[in-house]
């Protein structure tokens, strides 16, 4: 029984993924395992902390999770700067290099196809938040003789206005998504983030990722910058390594 396991970050073309002087999870040096023209980028991790049971427990520890996520991301982002890369889902761990080599060999054609699909392309994220409509000034309509009734009426119209505003924002976000999708080679929608996680009070109505080439990236940027949608506040993140698109199945 060994006391280390092998943590896999990403797969790249063997010709591209030269040795990087970067460290990965828990500061361990990153190295390559090569087979079939592919390079698996890995580092050794402590078997006790990355064994299946320990890993499940550790993922509940937010600080630990964040450290691993940032290390994983740094390695993948650095690889993505030198060529196409297929990032592997976080916390994918193998027993040893021999198993990683076998994986490259067994899945070689699917991995090569995935790398070809994302070659010269990057991923951009677009999020849209619903902008609350300005408050209507309907105090003039208040009926002085029936203050209770007019209060209830105001409350109801306030509620209807909020629901209508959100509906309009969802529709506007769908329209934005359709326009950007036309510029993209592939798209993927994620669940809108919980306001407690996004740290915003406005409701998120679009959380999407787009795979684009360089011209597409410029177009998406322009579109997000220039598009004047009063119902929405748009936010762009990227370029990301193609986390959402380098899958082993055709999208």
């Amino acid at each position: 029984m060994t006391d280390t396991l092998v943590y896999l970050y990403a797969v790249a073309d063997a010709a591209d993924a030269q040795d990087h002087a970067i460290s990965g999870v828990e500061g361990a040096p990153v190295r390559r395992v090569v087979a079939d023209g592919l390079a698996a980028v890995v580092s050794s991790v402590d078997a006790e902390r990355f064994g299946e049971e320990a890993l499940r427990r550790s993922l509940e520890d937010l600080q630990w999770l964040e450290k691993v996520a940032r290390s994983h991301h740094e390695v993948v982002a650095s690889l993505a700067r030198s060529g196409p890369v297929a990032p592997v889902r976080m916390a994918t761990v193998y027993l040893d290099d021999q198993n990683v080599r076998a994986l490259l060999h067994d899945r070689a054609s699917a991995l090569h196809r995935a790398l070809d699909r994302v070659r010269g392309r990057s991923e951009w994220g677009v999020k849209a938040y619903a902008v609350p409509a300005p408050e209507a000034d309907d105090r003039d309509e208040a009926d002085g003789a029936k203050p209770g009734t007019s209060y209830l009426m105001r409350r109801r119209s306030e509620r209807d206005r909020a629901a209508g505003g959100l509906r309009a924002a969802v529709e506007a976000a769908d329209a934005v998504h359709r326009v950007i999708s036309d510029l993209a080679d592939a798209t993927r929608r994620y669940e809108p983030q919980d306001p407690r996680l996004s740290g915003r009070r406005e409701q998120m109505v679009l959380n999407a990722a787009y795979l684009v080439d360089e011209a597409g990236a410029a177009a998406v940027r322009r579109l997000v910058e220039d598009r004047d949608v009063p119902e929405l506040r748009l936010e762009l993140t990227g370029p990301w390594a193609p986390y959402s698109f380098a899958t082993l199945e055709e999208p």
Binding site: L59, A69, H73, A86, R89, M90, Y190, A209, L234
Partner: protein, 56 residues
């Protein structure tokens, strides 16, 4: 419009991609955590931590 620099990537955006995206390989793998489980676990951790921060 905001373009977020690499350094400042929000953890929640990172988890969207690192946990829900990325190549999933099964077979010889020694540890494979189901997609839904993993996202669920991490989001639960995140939410409870945010709550701890908000309600000391």
């Amino acid at each position: 419009m905001t373009v977020v620099a690499d350094r400042d990537v929000a953890l929640v955006d990172l988890l969207d991609r690192l946990l829900a995206g990325g190549v999933v390989i099964s077979g010889d793998i020694t540890i494979s955590l189901a997609e839904v489980d993993l996202v669920h676990v991490s989001l639960r951790a995140l939410i409870s931590s945010v709550q701890t921060l908000v309600e000391p």
